[in-house]
Symmetry: C2
Subunit: 481 residues, 2 copies
């Protein structure tokens, strides 16, 4: 009965028929039980109910929906697959969610000029699957790539294990069509070397606060001829860290270079893809080298030699593709694996200069000890992107808040050594206040002024990405209230 | 006497003592004969005299100069070595030039974390020279690299022959310190994965219209173990063009992949570094492959095979480092070499999809025939960046204007096939009107709004980069005058 009642109230909301008139009656959700599915994304600590969820199927429909909402001054949030880890798609003001999942077509593939054009709801991994038989792939590979959308990847400037060698999403976007906050449709980039200001780069990674991307032209790459994987076990994190630096200093750029610490190993060994890591080591390195077949063996030999120089306990090369795939599956499921050793976990996403890793891990160890919460560390070692997984039990009073606080302390450590508060998960709701760890008031104000150009009324994904209150003037006002 | 008189007038300019009080008496030029050297940059078709030239030696001096000029509402232009090819540093409103050439220190090199920090006046090639003995180099290599500054490279987002594999300047900038139009000092980037909007990317390539960069943190790369160079002569441009595509389709990413046409060959063979190219071919390809020593020979063999498939007349591999250097010197001096076959030349800088090259060259041939001006074509074939060199004689009445018009027509051809009006030389004064070939009024207006955030009063390098009048409202006003 409760649901029925709420449904009736929602159905009376005058915006529902207006939105239905644009996208079709079936393509608007407004019943409470339907809306609940949209109360959070991959960041589950905050929740909020949207006013409605609409599913446009074309750029024109997105534009018409936005024009209507703009005219009515109703705030709205673009959303892809909802796999974001910082709450970028969570309603905080009863916003209307514009879901892009029905815009999921692969519009064009041009192997000669090496690009593909997709709609924003097209799933990341499907692009590689669609072009693999011709010997091509799409490089950015977030762990959620089997479900996350390329539109969402653009919003978050998503990374992945292979970003060390191949770069993050912004390095692979060649052009885009976007709907601005007033419903206007623009095209950006699309050709190499666009003159003027790099607005496409500005929108990429802006977490849905500047525009809604409705078409994306991405670079596709030739699949490397050969790929080999190495696993190395170290008694000391310090040695593993030195090995990472020496490998890169040798001029080898691994396709991926990952590290896990003792607690992370405990998790992955307790979960779906155990591979028999020793439990008494401080660090495991997992590394792939790809490229032309000629020369790969020499690079692998050099990697092994560097590991031996730094007192590796054991180093091995995957003997078959299947073995390599098992090793990577073990690593790729590390986040979810925490569920095997803890009721809940919160993943953080700091960035540090590679050389500061041993020191940062020591400080994270201190935070863990002080708080009483265990922390597992998964590290994109090559590019300094650290994912501490804070283990907690949400059933214990206060422990969720404690985990959030610990996450913030870890980010402060990263910022203090000259690092950053997010490598690939974005700021969203989660890290709004932590923006102050890396930006001064003036630097935040400069960004707000840019936001004002695209999103002057803050209808487009409001109250995200920047601290609240976000302007010095607002801080002063708040102080006088 | 004329100079003396002008000198006296300038010396009375009240801003001179004010500027001298900031940077020192010797560090302000104001005599007419000194100012003449600053009336243009590498684009010599437009000229204008600055009001003064100041030489700050620190960020604080830049900031103080800008604060003073901002307070006085006097426009100003940042300038590096003055090698820009689109007139970005040319005064049009008697601006004060802020020359950064005395800020030329290499401040820091960190081999472990692979970066260097330089002042903006530091010369591009000096960075590679300073770190080469440790086995490192700085990748972006404009042809003017022995004299151009890294600050200027940032302003223009400069490229170079090696940008095919390694990317342009923006891909190598890790952080910057900049002085805004009001004199405020900001730091941008500096750590990997900065959250929020990519303001550093926005300033890079903004041609001195958004900020004055005063410190730059750049990525340094490990010098490749091995490098081999191939030269290939083709009777038909079509075949050379197909060979380029097949080389890239084979998964080989050459470090550089250059093409010259018949007229360009005539030029380079008449100039300082002739290498004996045949004169009756339509195209020469010059290509370098670099990387780990293992595997290079296989790649070279594949390149040779592709060339043979496409009817190459002759293909050869440089047998010594010296031979390769001679071949590259022959190519790198191609612009200047035009002086050996023409009194004057104007270099253009279009970008096209690689696959459209034969068609675009045919259309450029038609423009050449119609105008009566010869055009040589030098082409960064790998990334589609075409440099038509329009040969003319400025002593013949009207021929300079004709050359400018021909350049614009060539850019229209590039834009019409889905290309762009500048690959690496920037828009500056030269290509302001051609911005309309690639942007609608709305798209230009969006960029002007971004400019307004950083440069609201247009004191910083005014009347550059955008068409004049640059706003729809101004167009309408002008129409009513």
């Amino acid at each position: 009965m409760l649901f029925k009642k709420k449904q009736r109230i929602s159905a009376k909301d005058p915006i529902i028929p207006a939105l239905q008139a644009i996208v079709g009656e079936e393509d608007v959700l407004y019943r409470y039980e339907d809306l609940v599915a949209y109360e959070c994304d991959g960041y589950t600590i905050h929740k909020g109910i949207p006013r409605a969820v609409v599913f446009p199927e074309s750029t024109e429909e997105v534009s018409a929906v936005v024009k209507y909402l703009h005219q009515q001054q109703i705030p709205f949030i673009p959303r892809g697959a909802g796999t974001g880890l910082s709450g970028g798609a969570i309603p905080q003001n009863n916003e209307v969610i514009i879901s892009l999942v029905r815009m999921k077509k692969l519009l064009e593939v041009d192997f000669y000029n090496r690009y593909a054009v997709v709609e924003p709801g097209f799933v990341n991994l499907k692009l590689t699957n669609a072009i693999a038989d011709k010997g091509y792939y799409y490089a950015p590979d977030p762990s959620s790539q089997y479900v996350c959308t390329i539109g969402g990847n653009v919003a978050e400037n998503a990374g992945g294990a292979h970003c060390l060698k191949y770069g993050v999403t912004t390095n692979h976007i060649l052009g885009m069509e976007a709907v601005l906050a007033n419903g206007e449709i623009v095209e950006l980039g699309g050709v190499p070397d666009v003159p003027g200001y790099d607005l496409m780069g500005l929108i990429t990674g802006s977490e849905g606060t500047l525009a809604i991307v409705t078409k994306i032209k991405v670079r596709i790459l030739k699949t490397p001829q050969e790929k080999k994987t190495v696993m190395a076990y170290f008694d000391k994190v310090q040695d593993a860290s030195q090995a990472v630096s020496d490998i890169i200093a040798a001029g080898i750029v691994p396709a991926a270079l990952e590290m896990m610490d003792k607690v992370a190993i405990e998790g992955v060994e307790a979960a779906n893809f155990p591979v028999g890591h020793p439990r008494d080591i401080e660090a495991v390195l997992l590394l792939a080298v790809d490229g032309l077949a000629a020369g790969i063996d020499d690079q692998i030999a050099e990697v092994v030699e560097v590991c031996q120089k730094w007192n590796v306990r054991e180093v091995k090369v995957a003997q078959t593709v299947e073995e390599a795939q098992r090793w990577w599956a073990n690593r790729k499921t590390a986040f979810g694996a925490m569920g095997a050793i803890s009721p809940d976990y919160l993943v953080q996403d700091g960035v540090i200069p590679r050389s500061r890793l041993p020191e940062v891990l020591a400080r994270i160890g201190e935070i863990s000890e002080r708080s009483g919460l265990r922390i597992a560390n998964v590290f994109h070692a090559g590019d300094g992107n650290l994912h501490p997984l804070i283990l907690f039990d949400s059933r214990k009073p206060g422990e969720t808040d404690l985990a959030v606080k610990v996450g913030s302390e870890v980010l402060k450590v990263c910022a203090d050594v000259g690092g950053s508060i997010t490598g690939e998960h974005g700021v969203g709701i989660e890290k709004k206040e932590e923006m102050r760890f890396v930006f001064t008031d003036e630097e935040i104000e400069a960004q707000l002024q840019i936001r004002d150009v695209f999103n002057p009324q803050q209808l487009l994904n409001p109250d995200k990405l920047f601290p609240t209150p976000s302007r010095c003037a607002e801080v002063k006002q708040a102080a006088h209230k």
